[in-house]
Symmetry: C2
Subunit: 336 residues, 2 copies
DNA sequence: GATGTTGACTGAACCGGTTGAGTACGCACA
DNA sequence: TGTGCGTACTCAACCGGTTCAGTCAACATC
């Protein structure tokens, strides 16, 4: 099946290729009557502009890239990315931009992908996830002048735009709630320590606990259920067992709940559990998990709008998304 | 920053654009010495061929598409797709093909996406997920002559290639195991009834149960935790309560486990639970779930290889992936 | 020494859009 | 009647690769 081109439309309309291009793109240079005639023909023969030809002359690929740097098992189990992607997508497809996805093994490979995408002109801009402290990807993107939006921050983003949420405030709200319930020994199972937002949360956790005068224990982990379970086992085996644990993602929280049950501790009677990121998973457990939720698709949507603006050459900065809010469910209660 | 083109390489090497193209693509027409010189220059200046130019003249986009038709919340929570994607990716990036992702609302929108991609020449082929009975996407793809690989089947794939697994055999193995444990009333919480693989499983479930002489109850559901929980509540409230339940995905199985606990039933003492799809989630619960697992990234990898072969014009058919195998864990035991 | 033959390479067309320069025409105005 | 101007176009170059038809020199063959 032959794909129609603007030359086909031009022939049928009895005009030149240029006129067709002007008509289809809403540019001046054709009369309204001719424009309508051309649009009607395009519609009739099901014309779609060849994206390669467009990219080649217009120098815009009409695509953006997302490189994900997590192993398959973790990537699959974390609902965060898919929710983010679907939010991003909604915004992109409305402007008929494509999303190019690549799974990479490490930050170096990710940098190589950015360089390749840039050289191939395959994408007009990229999203950067899992921002690290003094992230090596940032200077590379700045040098390439590839429009980019960091999902995370603030800080350490150099000149790049970012979309962020105030995790410190969310943490404060959560700890105040736990303290109000009567908890005085609160632990936190953190995410990957090298990630910036883990650092931000760790600092905020320590600060807020000090302000509230409660004991703070943070155990580093890596977002996997296995590590979350191990960390929980360690915490619950200590002499001064915490009465509440806050997990940096929902997967670890679910693993922690299972460990508590396995060790014969009642949740929430003996142990309260709070999950950061409120995916549907949190409502599947018994008891359902109290969680710190936010609208992740909307977060992705904002990021997409920022990136599209950056591609258009607009000067954009940091966008603050709504702070995560606590949804109390059955996994939190006053300690016995 | 200016991107280097083959013209730049040609100038520096003192040859024509054509010679550079031959050299870079391993085509005959240049001497080995010249080829090495050109490759060295390309390496040195960090050359990457402009993908649009390549697509325009070579008429291959070097990209494949995947349209996902599930709402954000379900998409995020199902580890299946992300695992599939990472397997697909590994294969694609080795051949420097890009993956273009699009989230769509319904099959009609998905068809529109395929038509657009075809018209725009944005992708060279597509993956088709969630095959339905008499799927309307199949004839469209056949007519467009867009290379495609169906993730699922067999049957109802028309002329399209597919990658499938023998779910009926896996189901047989599972039921024989449950019957051997002593179960005689076994229920199944199925996936979306309109999907072909749900139908295949439902038929196999009925057949095998009849063969083994056990009572079979299938309750349709939709893969979400909410529906899985509701179906479980209905099953466990009935007078003739089943002693074992098989769930069509892990998310529903986890929800089912929570419902059993909420209703005061011991798992596996009062109720055995088996999950189809063994993601890391199954090991996070207490007790950990007995599950029917398979290597989903490998499944995706096979699909990618099939699609690339189809794009190269090879005649390909159905590829049968390994049958899912049962991993017994703590959620199954003889009934009391 | 004339005649292929082969290998190494050049030049130009081509893919399908976009865009700036050029042109033809109608109309207003001095 | 000539000039100026805006509108509605056409024409051709261009983006950066790929590819086909030549060209030209070196070498083998009779």
């Amino acid at each position: 099946m032959k794909r129609p081109t603007i030359a086909d439309i031009a022939r049928r309309a009895g005009v030149s290729k240029g006129a067709v291009s002007y008509a289809l793109n809403g540019q001046p240079g054709v009369s309204e009557a001719t424009r309508q005639r051309i649009l009607a023909i395009a519609q009739e023969i099901g014309f779609n502009p060849n994206s390669a030809a467009r990219a080649l002359s217009g120098s815009t690929a009409n695509a953006v890239g997302l490189a994900l740097c997590r192993p398959a098992r973790i990537l699959g189990i974390e609902p965060f990315f898919m929710e983010l992607i679907s939010g991003v997508e909604a915004e992109l497809s409305a402007r008929s931009y494509a999303l190019t996805l690549q799974v990479v093994a490490d930050p170096e490979a990710e940098i190589a992908v950015y360089k390749r995408w840039w050289g191939e002109r395959r994408v007009d801009g990229v999203f950067v996830c899992d921002l690290r402290i003094d992230d090596s990807r940032v200077p590379v993107l700045e040098e390439l002048q590839l429009p980019a939006v960091v999902i995370g921050g603030p800080g350490h983003t150099g000149e790049l735009a970012c979309v962020w949420a105030d995790d410190a405030a969310a943490l404060g709200e959560t700890l105040e709630y736990l303290v109000a319930l009567g908890h005085r020994r609160i632990a936190r199972v953190g995410g990957l320590p090298e990630l910036l937002h883990t650092e931000i949360r760790s600092r905020a956790f320590a600060d807020v606990c000090q302000r509230l005068g409660v004991e703070a224990i943070t155990v580093p982990s890596d977002y996997t259920g296995e590590e979350g379970a191990r960390a929980t086992r360690r915490l619950l085996s200590s002499a001064q067992r915490p009465t509440a644990v806050l997990y940096d993602n929902d997967v670890m929280a679910i693993a922690g709940l299972a460990v508590a049950q396995e060790m014969g501790l009642a949740v929430p009677g003996d142990l309260s559990i709070v999950a950061w990121d409120d995916s549907a998973l949190c409502q599947l457990t018994h008891p359902p998990l109290t969680a710190l939720g936010r609208d992740i698709p909307a977060y992705g949507g904002h990021a997409a709008r920022q990136l599209l603006a950056a591609i258009e050459g607009k000067k954009i900065g940091a966008y603050q998304h709504e702070t995560a809010h606590l949804t109390p469910r059955g996994s939190t209660a006053p300690p016995r």
